[in-house]
Amino acid sequence: MTENTEAAGGPERRVRVVLVDDHRMFRTGVQAEIGRTEETGVEVVGEAADVDQAVTVITATRPEVVLLDVHLPGGGGVEVLRRCAPMMGAVENPVRFLALSVSDAAEDVIGVIRGGARGYVTKTITGTDLVDSVFRVQDGDAVFSPRLAGFVLDAFASTDAPPVDEDLDRLTQREREVLRLIARGYAYKEIAKQLFISVKTVESHVSAVLRKLQLSNRHELTRWATARRLV
């Protein structure tokens, strides 16, 4: 709607974002960092501090991307994802979620990803990287932080048991390589150069991993997450 993509790319792109975080100070910080619409192209159209508020604001504003905190009063980010599922799956103007958290707990992270978030970044991320990630999520791609890549590698690594669904329960060699480079701190562009593939291919690999992460019923994945129940 407000999107005026004239195929010119760059700062001409616009994205409407809702911030969901129970810390007002953090919301203010993010707003200041990415919210200068003329420079970054990010327009913060709403904020919410808990689950109920989040669902109301998201329904009312229909943003393209929601920056979602994992820990929220009223059920956490997972609950927001559950209640917004119809909007996520909408064919027109789908709402996409990017998890943003300080949490180190693998269970939290894997939980929001399986709940439907398109990625997970830690709150230590720089403003530029965050803007970049928001646009990537807007395009329907996945955003993996090094930490998330590490979690995913760990989760899929212990493959002693035969996979139930060969397609979903195993990472391909290439996907593994991409994840490993993400975990090592490479940006997508750097990964593309390193593996002699295009950035688009990197993105499709990451999206494939995301899909597996969300759909795989491999019991190890859940078992692994519970074994890592850290809180």
Binding site: S103, D104, A105, T124, T126, P146, R147, A149, G150, L153, D154, A157, R180, A183, R184, G185, Y186, A187, K189, E190, K193, Q194, L230, V231
Partner: protein, 429 residues
């Protein structure tokens, strides 16, 4: 009322400055039956075995031991102490004392049975004349019932230390009811023996009416009291938890915040303090057994070692290091060497490439191969341009890895910066 005596000085007096009057308690820990022998032994400063033998001997003297034991059991309150236990006041609720008191209640029923048998023997041996004999059985029943009910007082006291589970609460209720039933039965038997059975019906009706009245009057009050008690217990637990968290926050976070305020002008120091605090807090929040773990001990696993090394470098150089570890394995000699090389690489990255942003450390255990990479986003550097006399990279990283049968590679990263890759085969699976 506890039997208070001031004699028999203790062999292990708790605090010399205040010789509190010693009171006789039944021992709650390590007891066989009611803890009477243990408590007495602790009180008199004698070995438990002696006291138990005396009781046993008296038991054969026409069951006198059993009766004495029973009297002690009923009269003397349950407490902490006795032989072997730390002599502690009853009202001191030390946190470790709580655990020591957590003893299964099994065997108490047997103890009661034994007491009953002892009493029967005693009564059987002592001939009180035929008229009195008829009252013995009802009296015994009443006695047993009273003991059952009175024992509840003990448990209520213990419940102050121990959180009573639901199952146990039901047990208490059942026990109380059994006691009441026994007493009732005894009283009824009395009446029957006295020949006033004819009036039993009227008497019973009157008794029930009185009881109902009492229940109606006192019932709500009792219920409220129990509720208050459990609520208070809950509050106490909450308060304890809050105190623990507060203590931790005070020791760590508040302390760091003070330091940060004091060093507000020094950006690097503030960052360093904040990072160190963040790490510590994360460890406390997300590591179940990592609470309060001191940093002194040597790490035993690879993941721990990597994190430790990164933390130290971060503290020393004020550059954030982000660590991602996949898999884990115990450290062996070769891996220790690899860790030293990795640490050196981290130091280099922090020193020369720290301006470009966080240093990314990645470690992965895959089968027998252990791979560690350290990348910075600094200006990058050329190994060939480093003069041969600079020992850092050549010796501590490449040389060390090669000597231990591993490989080390340094290379520029496409997007800028340098990456050090260290690979090592583990000695054993």
């Amino acid at each position: 009322m506890p039997a208070a005596t001031t004699r028999a000085p203790s062999s292990h007096a708790p605090d010399p400055e205040e010789p509190a009057p010693r009171k006789l308690y039944r021992s709650a820990d390590g007891r066989m039956l009611g803890g009477v022998a243990r408590g007495l032994a602790g009180h008199l400063g004698l070995p438990v075995v002696w006291v138990r033998f005396v009781f046993l001997g008296l038991f054969f003297a026409e069951g006198l031991g059993a009766l004495l034991y029973a009297v002690f059991w009923i009269v003397v309150p349950l407490g902490v102490g006795g032989v072997g236990g730390v002599d502690r006041s009853l009202f001191e609720t030390a946190p470790d004392g709580r655990r020591r008191l957590r003893k299964p209640d099994a065997g108490q029923v047997f103890a009661l049975l034994a007491l009953l048998v002892g009493a029967v023997i005693f009564v059987g041996n002592v001939d009180m004349g035929s008229s009195a004999d008829r009252y013995v059985w009802p009296a015994l029943l009443i006695g047993a019932g009273s003991v059952l009910v009175w024992r509840q007082a003990d448990n209520a006291r213990r419940a102050q230390w121990i959180e009573v589970g639901r199952r146990r609460r039901v047990l208490h209720l059942a026990r109380g009811l059994a006691g009441v039933a026994l007493v009732g039965l005894g009283l009824a038997a009395f009446m029957v023996v006295r020949g006033s059975a004819a009036q039993l019906g009227t008497a019973l009706t009157a008794a029930i009416a009185v009881l109902t009245g009492i229940a109606l009057l006192a019932g709500p009050y009792l219920v409220r009291m129990t509720q208050d008690l459990s609520e208070e217990r809950l509050m106490r637990i909450r308060a304890q938890e809050r105190a623990e968290v507060a203590a931790h926050v005070h020791d760590s976070v508040l302390h760091t915040l003070t330091l940060i305020q004091r060093n507000a002008d020094d950006g690097g120091e503030v960052r360093r303090l904040a990072r160190a605090q963040e790490r510590e807090l994360r460890n406390w929040l997300y590591n179940p057994e990592g609470t309060g773990k001191e940093e002194a001990e040597e790490p035993s696993s690879l993941a721990e070692a990597v994190k430790r090394a990164a933390a130290e470098v971060e503290d020393k150089h004020g550059v954030p290091l982000e660590v991602v570890v996949v898999g884990d394995c115990p450290l062996d000699e070769k891996l220790t060497a690899q860790m030293q090389a990795a640490r050196e690489a981290m130091v280099n990255a922090a020193k020369y490439g720290g301006e470009g942003g966080a240093v990314q450390v990645f470690a992965e255990v895959e089968g027998r191969t252990v791979f560690v990479s350290v990348r910075d986003r600094g200006p990058g550097f050329d190994l060939d341009a480093v003069p041969g006399d600079r020992m850092g990279v050549r010796e501590s990283i490449i040389g060390r890895m090669q000597r231990n049968g591993g490989t080390a590679r340094l290379r520029p990263v496409p997007g800028g910066g340098t990456e050090v890759e260290l690979e090592m085969e583990r000695a054993s699976q």
